[in-house]
Amino acid sequence: MYVEMKQINKTFDGFRASNNVSFGVEKGCLAALLGPSGSGKTTILRMIAGLDKPDSGDVIINKQKVNGIPGNKRGVGFVFQNYALFRYMTVADNIAFGLEVQKKSKAEIRNRVDELLRLISMEELGSRYPHQLSGGQRQRVAFARALAPNPQLLLLDEPFAAIDAKVRRELRVWLKGMIEMVGITSIFVTHDQEEAMEVADTVIITNQGNVEQIGTPEEICMHPQTEFVADFIDITRCEAIIAAR
């Protein structure tokens, strides 16, 4: 297992966001945290990134317990729900930021930025500002920015929520392709089961701070293990999506 959560508990002002959460994600795997809003999936993602601290339990990345290690030393890239692009920096500066902070040489930064701009097919748009981009372009920049310092783990919080329904499908396919090409272990949060079933290798279903079931899309769809999962998953739709993969 590359990422492991062991008996994680987390409470915010009396609200139980995580209730004895345990699961693992294999190296190179693309996992989805799927659940209704308020089910604690974003909290789990933030605890893996080090943005929130669990009250108890262990977060393990690459066989190392990282509870006491700050987020920037965990080797994770994070794509925020609204991308959180630095609005007063150009696309190229956004991508370069993490490398500049690491005091990489100018030439190295330039090469890496060019490489990433090519990867996301935005070579021409490096000098644009975030507000001059479409939703899909912003997502691609956020993706490139998260990848710039070569993280071993990519975390994405509702990566498609801010995108038009029309282009969402297209971007889903693009992102899945990119993640496979880069070969990075990734976990993304979504409330959209279609999205999870179409993109993920492993789906982790959360409900009211609990992990209800972990499995491949097929397993979840064919053999729901709890009443909640059976109720939550729309079997006919999911079967069609899995068949079309």
Binding site: N72, K73, F80, Q81, A84, F86, R87, M89, G98
Partner: protein
């Protein structure tokens, strides 16, 4: 009826909490026009009586006895001293309140902790409290009979009826200004960008300089201007704590009062005109900032 093409989207005045939001074009009806022009007349009349006439009176009276008298009053030793003290107190208030305002709004907009609301309310106290009380509070704290009086006397530190007291009072009266301008802007920005930068390993100062500051710089400048304007005109708190020692603890507004009470009316108005000129300069700066911000 003729269709109106005017777009009122551009008619937003100012920014942040002080902005006037866009006004929808009303249907072109006579009754509406009557209301509109009636309101305009009332506003203009009010501003004329309350603002334009008094300011004109200041200038007219200042120059009543001719240019020579005006020059003498303005270049008088005590006037210059008072101007210097006013500028010193203003500069101190601006520096201290800018630093404090940035810290406070950064804290309240980017961190969550118990008592945030209480802290935000406390910061607003100088807005609601009478400046005279502010002055008295400092006398009761730092004065001879005050709570820290003995301690300060033993170390030979003089705060009340001295320059430090004036600076303290000015800082007190103006401390919400920068915070009040910055806080809504920082709050609206959220903290995602800062978190993103922190996850990439940026330190606190780098985050502030590269992420937060570019977002708040115009609001900050605007807050500084308002703070300076208020600091220069402060009378109540400073009056209580100053002791009115001419050439020592007299600020411009206090100097005006003294001259006026001594029946030196022309001189009083001449010195007032300095404050008017400073106010106009600040207004110009404020409008420039507002225009630049767009």
């Amino acid at each position: 009826m003729k269709e109106k093409k005017r777009n009122y989207d551009q008619d937003v005045v100012g920014d942040g909490i002080n902005s006037i939001q866009k006004v929808l074009e009303p249907a072109d009806r006579d009754s509406n026009n009557i209301v509109k022009y009636a309101l305009i007349s009332i506003c203009v009349l009010f501003l004329f009586v309350m603002l334009v006439v008094p300011l004109a009176v200041v200038i007219v009276n200042a120059l009543k006895d001719g240019w020579t008298v005006y020059r003498r009053a303005v270049l008088d030793e005590y006037t210059i001293k008072a101007l210097q003290l006013t500028l010193l107190a203003t500069a101190a208030a601006v520096v201290v309140n800018t630093i404090f305002g940035i810290f406070a709004s950064f804290l309240l907009s980017k961190f969550y902790f118990k008592g945030r609301q209480l802290l935000a309310t406390l910061i607003d106290i100088p807005f609601s409290i009478s400046p005279v009380i502010a002055g008295l509070v400092f006398i009761l704290t730092f004065g001879n009979i005050g709570w820290m009086g003995n301690f300060l006397r033993n170390y030979g530190i003089k705060i009340v009826f001295a320059v430090p007291g004036i600076i303290l009072a000015t800082i007190f009266v103006t401390f919400p200004f920068v915070f009040r301008e910055l806080f809504p802007v920082m709050n609206a920005q959220g903290k995602d960008e800062e978190e993103a930068a922190a996850l990439m390993g940026a330190g606190g100062f780098t985050i502030f300089r590269r992420i937060t500051f570019p977002h708040i710089k115009w609001a900050l400048l605007y807050g500084i201007i308002l703070c300076a304007a208020r600091a220069m005109g402060e009378f109540g708190a400073v009056s209580v704590i100053s002791g009115h020692l001419r050439g020592k603890t007299n600020t411009l507004p206090l100097h005006v009062e003294i001259l006026y009470n001594e029946f030196n009316t022309t001189e009083a108005f001449a010195v007032s005109s300095i404050l008017v000129i400073l106010a106009v300069l600040i207004l110009i700066a404020k409008n420039f900032v507002e225009w630049k911000k767009k």
